[in-house]
């Protein structure tokens, strides 16, 4: 019987924010949780993120931003995924996201925001439970 495909995830740093400790830790941690994780590195434009997500055929995109530009950048990624006809990719986010912005982001298509202190397992479990498998 064929093995179920492992969950594929793209972790991306949109914009100019250079603080990627969380992105690095999640890349390594979610790999240990059995997922295939690609980390884009810093300085990704929304276009490049969407391109990579399509190219890598991922199930989940994780966006990290600590510079305060999340409202614009996260939204851009979601809009461009839609524009490219990418359905069913789970988009989650983290970094420094003020509580007040979370409802706005969720409304626009970010399924969940995981702030500082979130255990890796919590994110892994959320993804496993919520992702739409290909």
């Amino acid at each position: 019987m064929a093995e179920a495909r492992r969950i594929r995830m793209l972790i991306a740093k949109p914009g100019l924010d250079g603080h990627d400790r969380g992105a690095r830790v999640l890349t390594l941690g979610l790999r240990d949780e059995g997922m295939e994780v690609i980390y884009t590195g810093l300085r990704q434009t929304p276009e490049k993120i969407v391109q990579a997500a399509i190219q890598e055929d991922v199930d989940v995109v994780g966006l990290s931003c600590l510079s305060g530009a999340h409202r614009y950048l996260f939204l851009e990624v979601v809009e461009q995924l839609k524009a490219k006809g990418v359905e069913d990719v789970l988009v989650i986010g983290g970094g420094i996201i003020p509580k007040e912005d979370i409802p706005f982001l969720k409304e626009k298509g970010i399924s969940a925001i995981f702030g500082p202190g979130t255990p890796i397992k919590e994110i892994a479990n959320y993804i496993k439970k919520t992702v739409k498998r290909k």
């Binding site: 100019l16 690095r24 202190g117 255990p119």
Partner: protein, 579 residues
């Protein structure tokens, strides 16, 4: 240092203790090993006081940079009923946001002593505010600077008695440091202030950017061999009161590296920078005294951070004296604004008032390790930077309590000679030398960055720390322990409004794009084109110092990105490594 026979007796008696008193306690608790260590003279039996510690203010500087720390004068500086500190006018709190006008107004409102400027990410990464790539980022994490105009506007807050020869200016700028600093020099020219009178510290520590902070532009080699070299040579020659660099192991620790990596990587980076001065034909003592450190990292492990500082001082002194042949003691010391501290990344958003406790622990470590009691950061930092004045007041008061009430700076290096502290200092130093030797064997810091070693090590250490927290091996109060039902969530009410106007911050991008458009319209664009062509020719020559070119460009209101784009063509752009 100790009598051989006495040591033998102590070792004998220790064995008796282990088999008697200790064993009884272990059995009582069902343990195989003691949860606490105990040290005796036997742990440091070959200790040579003069070689390992010596005296404060003298090689190897283990006990401290100076005969006594200036904080020991705190009592006389402040005095009863007093307020403002004495003669030292240091740069103020790291600050800046929005457009230049917004930051200028902030400095005027807060009557800042001197600007300690945070630049926005486009500025730090060599992009102009009107570049579509940086939409959403302009004016967010700091002030947007595109041309000399922004410096002129910001510094409207510093005129007359506060002109730039009377105050210190700090710039947290790395990859384009020479360009931004050239704007400051152009401002000095316009105000008729000689470069020799300028007091400033540009951060100018590009190598840590590739592994911890991320605001790089060019690849490491030209960044060090051209840009850093230019800054070292120029500042040594023309700006004796400007610090060449502010090396920040602190950023690397914040990104997750271990204590030993922090020390080793910082040393390796410092060595790479020092070498550019030697390669340029300068004498080590002519420029090394202008090197500073931003801070090393910190942690809540109180004793280890004290030992770290002592080991760091001894290690840097050895590097300067033995490797570089420095003769001037000023070349051998680690000049940094703070010493040991709690590690700012160890503050928690959960139950934030606990961060006061944590910061005080770090401050005590700072005072006992030969530095000032750095009770930092303010407790509410995880809730948003630059916030409450109350948190800053508590911070300032805590420092004074440690100095004036607890009198922690009455003794220099009080742990000197402690069997425990000397063993620990040696351990940390040895581990750091081992790691440094590994990096030097690869070809030094630049090579260890190019091959991805440092970046991956930091990532791995960060991940290991996270795992230890998640398994409960590392306990953090309020986060993974003391979170049961009976625990109170103590949340302070926030009474004071944010010092940065949120409306202005939102409007900054549009405002600055309009400002920049106006500058580009009114400047002499033919002159700009000519200067950029000249810059291009100069940049192609390995030996050419580009700072005078940047100053000329700044005066003509050439933008930061216009200058950086010329350099991008010639130096290339950095491609990050993968994990």
């Amino acid at each position: 240092m100790f009598d051989k026979d006495r040591i033998a007796e102590i070792e004998r008696k220790r064995k008796e203790w282990e088999e008697g008193t200790l064993r009884k306690s272990l059995e009582r608790f069902g343990l195989k090993q003691s949860p606490a260590k105990f040290y005796t003279p036997a742990n440091i039996k070959d200790f040579d006081f003069l070689a390992k510690i010596g005296f404060p203010g003298e090689y190897p500087f283990t006990a401290g940079n100076y005969a006594f720390p200036t904080t020991a004068l705190a009592g006389s500086m402040y005095g009863a009923g007093g307020g403002a500190p004495g003669a030292l006018v240091r740069a103020g709190i790291y600050s800046g946001y929005g457009a230049a006008e917004d930051t200028r107004d902030y400095y005027i409102k807060t009557q800042a002593a001197g600007p300690n400027i945070a630049f926005d990410l486009p500025t730090q990464c060599g992009y102009d505010s009107d570049n579509p790539m940086v939409r959403g980022e302009v004016g967010k994490v700091g002030v947007a600077v595109d041309t000399l105009r922004e410096f002129e506007v910001i510094y409207e807050a510093f005129v007359g008695g506060k002109d730039i020869d009377r105050i210190a200016s700090n710039f947290t700028i790395n990859a384009p440091a020479n360009i931004i600093f050239a704007m400051y020099l152009a401002l000095a020219d316009k105000r008729g202030i000689p470069y020799s009178k300028l007091r400033s510290t540009p951060q100018n520590d590009i190598l840590k950017e590739y592994i911890a902070r991320g605001t790089y532009i060019f690849p490491p080699r030209p960044a060090v061999n051209r840009m850093f070299r230019d800054s070292l040579v120029f500042l040594t020659k023309y700006c004796p009161n400007v610090n060449i660099t502010s090396i920040g192991g602190y950023h690397i620790r914040g990104a997750g590296c271990t204590r030993e990596q922090d020390l080793a990587f910082s040393m390796a980076i410092g060595i790479a920078y020092l070498q550019t001065g030697i390669d340029a034909g300068l004498d080590i003592d002519s420029f090394a005294p202008q090197f500073t450190f931003n801070a090393f990292g910190g942690s809540m492990e109180f004793f280890k951070e004290i030992a770290f500082q002592r080991a760091a001082r001894r290690m840097w002194a050895k590097v300067l004296k033995e490797r570089f042949g420095a003769k001037n003691p000023k070349s051998m010391i680690i000049r940094q604004p703070i010493g040991a501290h709690m590690g700012f990344e160890n503050t928690t958003a959960q139950r934030p008032l606990n961060n006061v406790t944590r910061a005080v622990v770090g401050g005590i470590a700072g005072a006992l390790s030969g530095g000032p009691p750095a009770v930092a950061p303010p407790y509410d930092e995880p809730l948003g930077l630059g916030w409450s004045i109350e948190a800053q007041q508590l911070q300032r008061d805590a420092v004074m309590i440690l100095l004036l009430e607890a009198k922690l700076n009455e003794v220099v290096d009080p742990f000197a000679g402690s069997y425990f502290m000397e063993s620990l200092t040696d351990e940390i130093e040895e581990a750091a030398w081992k790691e440094l030797d590994k990096i030097e064997a690869m070809g030094g810091a630049v090579a260890a960055i190019e091959n991805g070693y440092m970046y991956r090590e930091v990532a791995r250490s960060a991940y290991e720390r996270q795992r230890r927290i998640e398994t409960g091996e590392d306990l953090v109060v309020g986060v993974n322990c003391a979170i049961g039902e009976g625990e109170l969530e103590v949340i302070p009410p926030r009474m004071v409004p944010h010092p940065y106007d949120p409306v202005k911050r939102e409007q900054a991008e549009e405002k600055q794009i309009a400002n920049l458009k106006e500058v580009k319209r009114t400047r002499d664009n033919r002159e700009v084109a000519r200067l950029l062509r000249e810059l291009e020719e100069a940049a192609k020559k390995e030996e050419e110092n580009l700072i005078p070119h940047f100053i000329e460009c700044a005066k003509a209101y050439v933008t930061e990105q216009e200058m950086c784009d010329v350099l991008r063509e010639i130096f290339g752009e950095y491609e990050a490594v993968a994990i």
